[in-house]
């Protein structure tokens, strides 16, 4: 088995601030994902990466950057936090990009004051 860790667990930022969320997996999976979870809106794909140094935009990529320097890690940056924003950011990984089960991390809960 493996595990996905996300840091920090809670992130509080100020409006306009650049904020970085980190994700590590030890499954040795090729593909990693960042989703945003809002109450009543399901999970929406922000960015994904099919291998080290690869980046692909999802439906919700505007306002975010991502980085995949190593196979095991995938970072997400909120480029300018929006006031009163609250959401949970979930990192996931899978052995490949199609049809495979995705394994999720516990999430980072973002609050912007």
């Amino acid at each position: 088995g493996g595990i996905i860790t996300q840091t920090p667990k809670f992130l509080i930022g100020q409006e306009g601030q650049k904020l970085t969320l980190k994700c590590q997996q030890n499954f040795n999976h090729d593909t990693m994902y960042w989703y945003r979870q809002d109450s009543g809106k399901g999970l929406r794909l922000i960015y994904y990466s099919i291998t080290e140094n690869d980046l692909q935009k999802g439906d919700l990529s505007e306002g975010y950057d991502a980085s995949r320097e190593k196979k095991s890690s995938f970072s997400l940056t909120v480029t300018s936090a929006q006031k009163n924003e609250m959401a949970v950011f979930l990192c996931a990984s899978s052995i490949d990009g199609n049809y495979a089960e995705q394994f999720f991390g516990p999430g980072t809960r973002l609050t912007v004051l």
């Binding site: 996905i4 593909t31 994902y33 989703y35 009543g40 809106k41 399901g42 999970l43 929406r44 794909l45 994904y48 099919i50 692909q56 999802g58 979930l90 990009g97 199609n98 049809y99 495979a100 089960e101 995705q102 999720f104 991390g105 516990p106 999430g107």
Partner: protein, 112 residues
């Protein structure tokens, strides 16, 4: 593009009663369908995945049948338990889109 519809936002029921959560989808290509479950303050976990050969997947008493004719993958359990209280997501994966397309989720609350 792909889409997944879950019609119920909240389902409340008494322990021991059957539960069915609706899931319908739209996709240009033959997709795989998934059910994920997320308990409070936990990560989403895979509950069920559709098979290519029309077998019915089952796990922890839950089962779902992929009906291509009606584009549905409803989740069912004959007798709900208190521990089934959670958020349930139906999701779709297709050959031309990376990542999963999720429905809005259905929150299930089971009471004694």
């Amino acid at each position: 593009g792909d889409s997944v519809t879950q019609t119920e936002g909240l389902v409340t029921l008494t322990e021991g009663l059957p539960v069915m959560l609706n899931c319908t989808y739209q996709s240009t290509y033959s997709p795989f369908l998934f059910w994920y479950v997320q308990h409070l303050n936990e990560a989403p976990k895979l509950l069920l995945k559709s098979f290519t050969d029309n077998k019915r997947p089952e796990h922890q008493g839950f089962h779902a049948t992929l009906h291509k004719s009606s584009s549905s993958f409803h989740l069912q359990k004959s007798s709900a338990q208190l521990s089934d209280s959670a958020l349930y997501y139906c999701a779709l994966s297709s050959v031309y889109a990376q990542g999963l397309t999720f429905g809005l989720g259905t929150r299930v609350s089971v009471f004694p």
